[in-house]
Structures are given as structure tokens and as C-alpha cells.
């Protein structure tokens, strides 16, 4: 879900918790599919969400660099059977490295 309404509901729920109020009607869990704009985004989302929602990508960014993304993509192909061609893997790697490599050093 990419709607502003979803984000707003989450914000209300978190802000309510922060303020110590009892929460009524918090956000129902929803699939997250919005990643940063950029070359290769649709391919990346399209392949990754076959098996999992893509919160993992921004949340893991601080632990990732190009080599780590390469290893992860390879693991998804080799160990989990993800249907990703070598050419697609390269585009996905470029997208993830450009947008979600946050590891220092």
C-alpha cells in the first residue's frame, strides 16, 4: 500500500503510543511495496515481493553495502529459488546498491 492514508494511520498509532494514550483502531497491518524511485525499482519490487514484503530493504540498509547486497541476491537465487535471471540480478543489485547501501566504510 502506498497511500498517504496508510502512512497517516501509522503515524497516529505511533504518536498515540508515544503520548501514552490507549490506542483505538490502530493501523491494520498492510503489505509495504513503496521503495525509492530509481532505475530498477519496479523490477526489484516485482521479484522480491513474490515471497516477502519489502520492509526488509530499507530496514537492512544500514547493514548493507554492494558486496552484502550481492551476497543476499545470490542467496535468494541459490538457496531460496528466486526466479531471477543473471541480467535481472545485475539490475536489482545496481538499484539496491544505489538506493539502500547505508553501511559505513
Amino acid at each position: 500500500m502506498r497511500s498517504a492514508g496508510h502512512r497517516f494511520a501509522v503515524w497516529v498509532a505511533v504518536a498515540g503510543a508515544a503520548a501514552g494514550y490507549a490506542m483505538s483502531g490502530p493501523a491494520a497491518a498492510a503489505e509495504v511495496t513503496d521503495l525509492r524511485e530509481g532505475a530498477g525499482r519496479d523490477l526489484t519490487v516485482g521479484r522480491c515481493i513474490i515471497c516477502h514484503s519489502v520492509e526488509y530493504i530499507p530496514s537492512n540498509a544500514p547493514a548493507m553495502n554492494r558486496a552484502a547486497w550481492q551476497k543476499t541476491i545470490q542467496k535468494m537465487k541459490d538457496k531460496f529459488g528466486a526466479p531471477i535471471t543473471d541480467e535481472e540480478a545485475k539490475q536489482i543489485l545496481d538499484y539496491l546498491d544505489t538506493n539502500y547501501s547505508g553501511k559505513a566504510g
Binding site: 502512512r7 501509522v10 503515524w11 498509532a13 505511533v14 504518536a15 503510543a17 508515544a18 490506542m23 490502530p26 493501523a27 491494520a28 497491518a29 498492510a30 503489505e31 509495504v32 515481493i49 513474490i50 515471497c51 516477502h52 514484503s53 520492509e55 526488509y56 530493504i57 530499507p58 530496514s59 537492512n60 540498509a61 544500514p62 547493514a63 548493507m64 552484502a68 543476499t72 538457496k79 531460496f80 529459488g81 528466486a82 526466479p83 539502500y100 547501501s101 547505508g102 553501511k103 559505513a104
Partner: protein, 395 residues
């Protein structure tokens, strides 16, 4: 939009205390925290929607038993059927089972002695999000764990009914959840035969006096007190007793730690010179109150409180420092609910003077082990049990 730090303060509790130190360029690209609810659950911290990985907020870790509606949820595979308890069957067999059998839920409940145990269920990766340097994986804070009263039957009684041959080496467990793609390994785990036959290892069908919630393994799951959550297979459907080491992905490749790096139970049949399966939890503690970054009012009564646990020796003491580790004093321990249970601790706080209070907490097990000051590096970010610190402010 909340910043990562604000959201951490709101949701993940003490995670903020240490994540703050690592922020900067890395923090800026991290996603913000969000709360979400699964059917039958209250709002939890949504680490991933599918497969569902939801963490218990700090406020919900304050009661001695973690409520079923807020207990954390952790899955590897996206196909999670709602199991019809009336149609559910448990197959018990394998090459080292002398009399393979099939049990309905009614037969499971009616054929064996009922037992219950207070035990901590902690994900192997709990606190991975606190690791420095950061490591990939679900970026859990402190809430990929909970404590519950589990009720069911002893696994060993079921295994003995199936007849355990003398060559039995491991017992293998599968649940109803399945992968989506044919190339994805099913989530199947094994235990060494001695652990499977331990009197505390249960097939549980109740949690805190109610049937297991769907998201926590209905209608029956494994309960392996002292060992990390990866072994607590949910929606249990198949048990195989076998004379050889199980060679599935989730044993041979995942959930492994460097051999010899931690003083925990060995899993000899799965061990290599390089690495070995994670097994027991380490002695650990969590401050549950006051809330992180809390401002305490000068002159008003306040107390520090939390939970301590280990792998089953039991908690001997929880020591607290309120002066930046210069001196330590024992906290008052709560009631002993069993050696696998959470042990509550508390200590009054002196709020007579304004200023910061530098808190540190360390638990000690009856086996003598205590919490270290430094992380032991390991690739998957397991076993973060370092001394927890916090800075409170009196004003």
C-alpha cells in the same frame, strides 16, 4: 513523518538508547518504524508484513506473562494456513520410530499427562537491530521475545509411545507453514535426541490458559525451554525420529554460530569445525520501566524494574549500577516462577537531586555466568546479552 529515532523511542523502547549512537548516514537511509495489527493481535511493531514478523512493544513486556494478543510473531515462510483443529493430525514416525502413529488433537490431549511450564520464548535474532556493526536480517529490537505459561504434553511421552529405537540421534519437526516457490526450503528443524527426551520439552496446545493463537502456532507447537525460538516449531504436523543428522537448510546453513564462541549446550551431530547451531539462550536482562529517556520528577518516588532470564539454571542475582558502573547493588528479585521463567527485578531510584542517573543492569545465573560488556561478533547477529545501560534524567 516520524524520524527513525522518534519512532524507536515510541515503539522499540530501549533500542533507542544504543541505536542513537550509531546514527548518522546509516540511520538516515533506514526505514521508519511502524505499528500494525494482525487479525487477533493488538498493535505490534511491524518488522515485516509477509512473512509476518511483528515485535512486542516494550510496554507490553511489563506484565510477568506476555499477553497472547501482544506476543511476538515470527515466520520464515509466506504460506501460513489457518489450521482446522478438528482435521489436524500429528504424524510421529521416522526410521528410528518402532511404532509410528497418527494423533488427532483430541487423542493428543486425551492420551498423555498434561503438564505446564513458565518459559521464555526468545527469537535467536532478538536485539539484532542493536548490533554494532550492523548485520543483515530482521532488525529486531528487544521485543522478539515473551514469557508465557505453556500447557500441553511432554514430547518424550509421545516419542515413547512411538517407540524410540536405540539408534535414534535426532528428532525432526515440521509445521503446516510452507514455502511459495518450489526451490525454497521448507522450515524444518531438529533437536538432539536427549533434548527431545528432556522432561521440559513439550508439545503445547495452550498459552497463558487459552488455546494457542493462530500466529503463535495453533493448534499445537513445540516448546523447548531454555533454547531459542527457532526450535519452537509452530503448527506442528510431523515428527520424525531418525538415526542420522537432519541436513535441511534451516539446520545446516541458517541459525548457526561460530563453534566454541559461546558457552552453551553443544549440538554435536550438527557441529562442524567452523560453526554449529545456536542452542541455548544466554543470561540476560531487560529494563522495562521507566520508559526510555524518561524524565523523572524530582522528589517523586520512582523505581527501576525489569526482567531477567537464562537457559534454565535460574537467576541468582540482578545487580544495578546507578553511577555509571562505579558501584553495583543487588536489585530485589520477584517471585521464582521456575528456572526457565522470567525473574522480575526492581530497585527504588533516588530522585532527591536533579540531574542524570547513569543506569546499568547485569543479571547473574545460578551457573555463575553473567552478562558481558562486549558483544561477541557472529555473522547472524545472535546472542546480544551485553550489559544494558540507560540514562535517566531527574528534573
Amino acid at each position: 513523518m516520524l524520524t527513525r529515532r522518534e519512532a524507536l523511542l515510541a515503539g522499540a523502547g530501549w533500542l533507542a538508547t544504543r541505536a542513537g549512537a550509531n546514527e548518522g548516514a546509516a540511520g538516515a537511509v533506514g526505514g521508519e518504524e511502524m505499528l500494525g495489527t494482525l487479525p487477533g493481535k493488538k498493535a505490534l511493531i511491524q518488522r515485516a508484513f509477509r512473512p509476518p514478523n511483528f515485535e512486542t512493544p516494550l510496554a507490553d513486556l511489563q506484565p510477568i506473562h506476555t499477553g497472547n494478543s501482544v506476543f511476538f510473531v515470527r515466520y520464515h515462510l509466506p504460506n501460513i494456513p489457518y489450521v482446522d483443529a478438528a482435521a489436524w493430525r500429528l504424524e510421529v514416525g521416522g526410521p528410528s520410530a518402532q511404532h509410528p502413529l497418527t494423533l488427532s488433537l483430541r487423542e493428543l490431549k486425551g492420551s498423555f499427562e498434561h503438564v505446564s511450564i513458565n518459559a521464555v520464548n526468545q527469537c535467536s535474532g532478538n536485539r539484532r537491530g542493536l548490533f554494532a556493526p550492523r548485520v543483515p536480517g530482521v532488525q529486531w529490537g528487544n521485543g522478539a521475545m515473551g514469557h508465557a505459561l505453556w500447557a500441553g504434553v511432554r514430547l518424550r511421552d509421545v516419542l515413547h509411545k512411538a517407540g524410540v529405537a536405540t539408534d535414534a540421534l535426532e528428532v525432526v519437526f515440521n509445521g503446516a507453514d510452507t514455502p511459495l516457490l518450489p526451490g525454497t526450503p521448507d522450515f524444518v528443524k531438529s533437536l538432539p535426541i536427549d533434548r527431545a527426551l528432556d522432561e521440559n520439552t513439550l508439545i503445547a496446545f495452550e498459552m497463558n490458559g487459552a488455546p494457542l493463537p493462530h500466529w503463535n502456532g495453533a493448534p499445537a507447537r513445540l516448546v523447548v525451554p531454555g533454547w531459542t525460538g527457532t526450535y519452537w516449531v509452530k503448527h506442528l504436523t510431523d515428527i520424525r525420529i531418525q538415526p542420522a543428522a537432519f541436513d535441511g537448510f534451516w539446520m545446516k546453513s541458517a541459525y548457526r554460530i561460530p563453534t566454541g564462541a559461546f558457552a552453551t549446550a553443544r549440538f554435536a551431530s550438527q557441529e562442524t569445525s567452523e560453526n554449529t547451531p545456536i542452542t541455548e539462550m544466554l543470561v540476560n536482562a531487560l529494563i522495562t520501566s521507566p520508559a526510555p529517556a524518561a524524565r523523572l520528577r524530582r522528589g517523586e518516588p520512582a523505581r527501576l524494574a525489569g526482567k531477567a532470564w537464562d537457559a534454565g539454571a535460574g537467576i541468582a542475582a540482578v545487580e544495578v549500577s546507578l553511577d555509571g558502573r562505579q558501584s553495583w547493588r543487588p536489585a530485589k528479585l520477584g517471585r521464582d516462577l521456575g528456572r526457565f521463567a522470567w525473574r522480575e527485578f526492581e530497585l527504588p531510584l533516588d530522585t532527591s537531586r536533579s540531574g542524570p542517573i547513569e543506569v546499568a543492569v547485569r543479571a547473574r545465573s545460578r551457573n555463575g555466568s553473567t552478562q558481558p560488556e562486549k558483544l561477541t561478533p557472529n555473522p547472524a547477529g545472535y546472542h546480544d546479552n551485553i550489559v544494558q545501560t540507560a540514562r535517566l534524567e531527574v528534573s
